[in-house]
Assembly symmetry: D2
């Protein structure tokens, strides 16, 4: 009896070729295809896996788990790698790895194969996650291993009756899930060239967006959006719905040259319409519900958390500790945010909360003022004391 | 002979009343009015100061110094307090204090008076800066000290023949310089209410912006913009010009509930059209010219720098050290950035530099690929080692 | 009926005078005296409070609560303000405040009085903690308010039949609890002068310590010491016992010029024999039980946590979040540490844990070596890639 | 004509074998041996290199450059990896690499060979430094490449007439320079076993140290020690002298399980007598000469700097920026520190500076007190405001 390998199967050329390649190596292939909210037609993928020669094909809808256990932290933690990238693929990789490991365990497979190349982040994310979850499993990276040019790969495909997509030379390499869509490659490789229109799919060109703005209301409970315009929705449904609404208004395009984990700079184009609106709204709600010390320290946690996720360390003790920190800050991040959507802009027009720490009586300049202005004198005297002592010592302030 | 006090004079009601109030206290008042790029009519202010009874009035154009010595760091350091506020007033206060201290020294004055209330940040910024520059000077804060209601102040003004502006009940408290305009107060005090149209002055309503987008090119040298669309401009002229262009497209409105130094949360509305475009472009240029380690650590410096500036500590040894750090990172931040301006959006469409670290040969997926994909195997093995050891110890990864 | 004030009563001159002073102000005084492990004779203090005129006196032994809820975090978080001070008094102030607030609630008192001066940290710690726990309570700081010189205070005491201690001019101001002893003032105010012998009480002079070293074994469970030399002890008992043992060997003297919250530098002498041994042992155990990413990020949390505690913010949402972070890191900090005590030195000679991540097979240079040295080649190629690209761009490395 | 390879030659077995091995590969070997203060007999090494078959041997005394350009930053930056390891070898690797590259350039060599194994940090430090300085050079790591067991290596040596040291089975792997000595391996691999006496060389056993304490005075100028007991000494001479004095008193032993760059934990024993005294004294002097904000932020820089150095990134733009930051903080770190040396303890007994910010008038509790205690009331009111607002909102403070 042959040993089994679980293959993360997408239905595309690379992983279809990988089925044959693994069979050639003497393995039975257990295909596994996950839906994390990208809306692929999984029936077709299922059939194709079997057509390619997989002995089994597992289709798993992980959309809810993805939104509730992964994207939820991207929201509560305002996660943005390099302040810019909402970690679209980086968030799904650990979940996909977890499912692959579960299938491997269930099917007594000896290893897992993924379709990543050798120069991206995703290979690291898959392999480190698998090490974390079951370090006994072997890992195969056929695409990295065979190291074929595009032409050689197509030759192999034709020879093995693997259907080659007609638009085989689509210049893009795309990954998508409910948190967004990433696109790299081809013409994008010149970072001075503007991304072409067809690099985008989830968002309208600004020039094609509605001329009428739209105001939405997002309700949050403990850091997570729970209702859109008053309608309660599960997190995944809310994000998917918001992707449509915000995408229509051209919101959420990101064009970034980022530092990959594997040491190179890469130009990436992302579309994250729902993510942009949700994170903006979430941050706005935090401005009135977090105390100053939390508001000023949480970004340190957020930066580290973003880097952990980007750097393939979702399953790690540090990430667990960052999670409990973030969770503990969200207890009162409950309330409503008004956001105007218009021609690429998501503008927070208002935020309110039953736990608001914004105190009109303290902030006002009217006679309702509850702030004791006299206390400022003592405050400044003590706050300025180190400056004063330093200045007296040096006879004023000199810096040249 | 009476003792002299230098008064930071704006021409408004508060500081006009302060002239009389200081005279009543037995001082000669030396008025001092600075231009930091807000474009006030200083002849009128000059005359008014003397009319109020000031013995002298000094008009100082500090626009160049402001842009070259203060705003330059806001650009090189991407300074944003709480990730949001580009430190408009916070940047000008130390410079104004410096000029006031110079005038005090020149005129043998015994102290300095400012027109700030007792609940804002600016009082702290003036007073701590003055402590730094000349700790021997007395400081007066008449508005904080007299603690009058608006009505009481107007009574005093009428009694002393101080002209009271007709629209005395403008609901806003405004400060402006070349880096932007801040607005607090009045109706803005309800953070769930959208700011009214008349809260803005430098930026068009989005609905009123041109239907035609505009692409501009910003050239940078060592971190600072030096040319706009190929035309070399001094920094201050470039910013002022960009304020107009970007303001026309509705760019640069900020609506933020911020944590003041004096312990309260305050809702602020800012307009910073030029600042938004410049900082976006600057960050984009940094993505291709900074090494990864600098790119990942500089934000730690930027956060601290922003807090120093916000917290009245411009003149401090730590700020000096942060400055040299920031300067040292900008040596190769030279190049050009293409930005599309359209209906509130400033979209970086391209960035290039003679010092670009983006290497197409490494990033490409074509056969020009210079990246050795085999090395990924060893990299992942070592990078994933701590994860693997931890997992082997605990028999997989568990977190519940 | 008079209003009641709860007074934090120590039995010393200041708070004895404060009883009379508060009675003079028209209040009934509810004395409250806490034991947090300093080993004071509380019967004497109780009687003295009543003799001074207090209407009630509450004696509370909070030693266990102090060690389990406060000191426990100092251990798990390796808390050291400015890398040096184990937060002896800073840790006890919030607990004392909590007890005072409880007594105030129970006795229907309208406020709380403490005996701190106006230039230390403790006034802030008491008052901010009380604001956190019951912002309705008034706060009195008699010593700060009366602003007497030592002589004036003694005059008042003599006039009111308050016993003045004979050695009234002890040059030191001391605070003590189970976590250590702090000493400021007098001759210590010259930071170039060595602290005199009589500034210390818990630790032997090095010259007077045993000539025979002693090895102890500390057992930890989830970050806390649970046994000393195999004997299970409650945390408070273990610390008190260790204070004696380590103090005998002259361990735990700290001499530090620290930056107070109120803006001045102050020279402080601490004795923390048990704390030094425990924290050293705890850190050593963490070196084998924390993963590298936790080990490298936890110090960021520890620094912030130390500053929160020092800065009077024990009761704050940020501190709560820091606590859950720290707790979550301690799950596997279980094991044993051998420490040699000798003439001021606490030397960790060994550490072991059932959860050790130190893997002899990976670390060894013998033929049992399980480390794949080939992987280093790929690792270095990718790890060094940003350096290589930067160097190729600039034609080598230049820095002048 | 053969191509030349520069070999970092130590005179030991590994690099002696490497000479032959490189010759076997068809290269001419240019041996290069550096003195960075370890006090080796270089004449012997020189002759041995030629005896082994090297075509040239370069002996370079880099002690001054090492102390002035590398160790100087370890002092000014208080550099300690993981808060514990003063970066002894990590500091010398970049300098040695620099010298090797210079020799390679001078001799027209095509590459550089080092004697590191494949599981340590030093291989990374050499190779990344060489990439930084001259990315065109090939790098050879013979020991990593041949992957022999100790026995195989000795076989090869005997076969090639390479003298094998008699005590070939010394259980230790040692590196030494003027900043200290590191020791790993052998019996040290059990982290619960105490290091044996013969693991140490620079420091006396505590039991063998003098019974008489010794007080020394270190004078600093701008962050660097310039005189010992009043005698002006170059930095390298001062360190070497202090190593002797402090080593005599048993000061500077470090026993640490550290996280290597290559993903494993390793137990290391260091001896750094001079380093410990100097860094303690330097920190003490900083407590009175740095303002609070610098004192609290510099540790963030120090941590990053330490990790850069440990992680092979001495020659990198980030390290350059960290250097200028650190330099800028040292302007006033000038003064004298009294340190008592006694049985393993280096106790700072006093610190003074012409630039001291410690102000006895502010710190004192005598009647010279210049601190305005009234200002504390206003300070606490404002400092405690966020706590008060939070508490009022939530009806007190609750955390469970």
């Amino acid at each position: 009896m042959k040993q089994k390998i679980v293959l993360a199967y997408s239905g595309g050329l690379d992983t279809s070729v990988a089925v044959k390649w693994l069979i050639d190596k003497g393995y039975d292939v257990v295909a596994c295809c996950l839906d994390v909210g990208e809306g692929k037609d999984l029936d077709i993928v299922y059939q194709k896996a079997l057509d390619m020669g997989a002995v089994e094909c597992h289709i798993i809808d992980a959309t809810e788990e993805f939104s509730d256990e992964y994207v939820a932290y991207a929201i509560k933690g305002n996660l943005m790698y390099e302040g810019t990238y909402p970690l679209v693929s980086a968030l799904s990789r650990p979940l996909i790895s977890k499912k692959l490991v579960e299938i491997a365990d269930k099917t007594n497979s000896v290893g897992i194969a993924h379709g990543c190349t050798g120069k991206g982040n995703d290979q690291v994310r898959f392999e480190v996650a698998i090490k974390a979850l079951n370090p006994e499993l072997k890992v195969f990276a056929p695409v990295r291993e065979w190291a074929w040019s595009r032409e050689e790969e197509i030759d192999y495909a034709l020879k093995h009756n693997i259907p080659v997509p007609i638009q085989q030379d689509s210049p893009y390499s795309i990954d998508q899930n409910l948190w967004g869509r990433s696109n790299e490659c081809g013409i994008l490789e010149d970072p001075y060239a503007a991304p072409p229109t067809d690099a985008f799919d989830l968002t309208n060109e600004l020039e094609d967006t509605p001329n009428q703005s739209e105001e939405i209301i997002l309700s949050f409970e403990q850091g997570l959006p729970t209702a859109l315009n008053g309608e309660n929705l599960s997190l995944s449904k809310l994000i998917l719905k918001l992707n449509k609404i915000a995408g229509k208004h051209g919101i959420g395009r990101i064009d970034h040259v980022e530092n990959r984990l594997v040491g190179i700079k890469s130009r990436e184009v992302y579309e994250t319409p729902g993510a942009e609106v949700i994170i903006k709204a979430h941050k706005a709600l935090e401005t009135i519900t977090l105390t100053k010390d939390v508001a000023h320290f949480k970004p340190v946690i957020e930066k580290q958390f973003s880097e952990q996720v980007y750097n393939a360390l979702w399953f790690s003790p540090l990430t667990d500790s960052l999670k409990v920190f973030v969770d503990s800050t969200q207890q009162h991040v409950t309330g409503e945010v008004r956001i105007k959507l218009y021609k690429g802009n998501a503008i927070v027009n208002g935020r309110k909360s039953p736990y608001t720490l914004y105190n009109e009586k303290l902030a006002t300049y009217t006679k309702e003022d509850a702030f004791n202005q006299d206390s400022a004198v003592g405050f400044i005297e003590i706050f300025g004391l180190p400056t004063q002592v330093n200045s007296m010592l040096h006879g004023g302030y000199h810096n040249e």
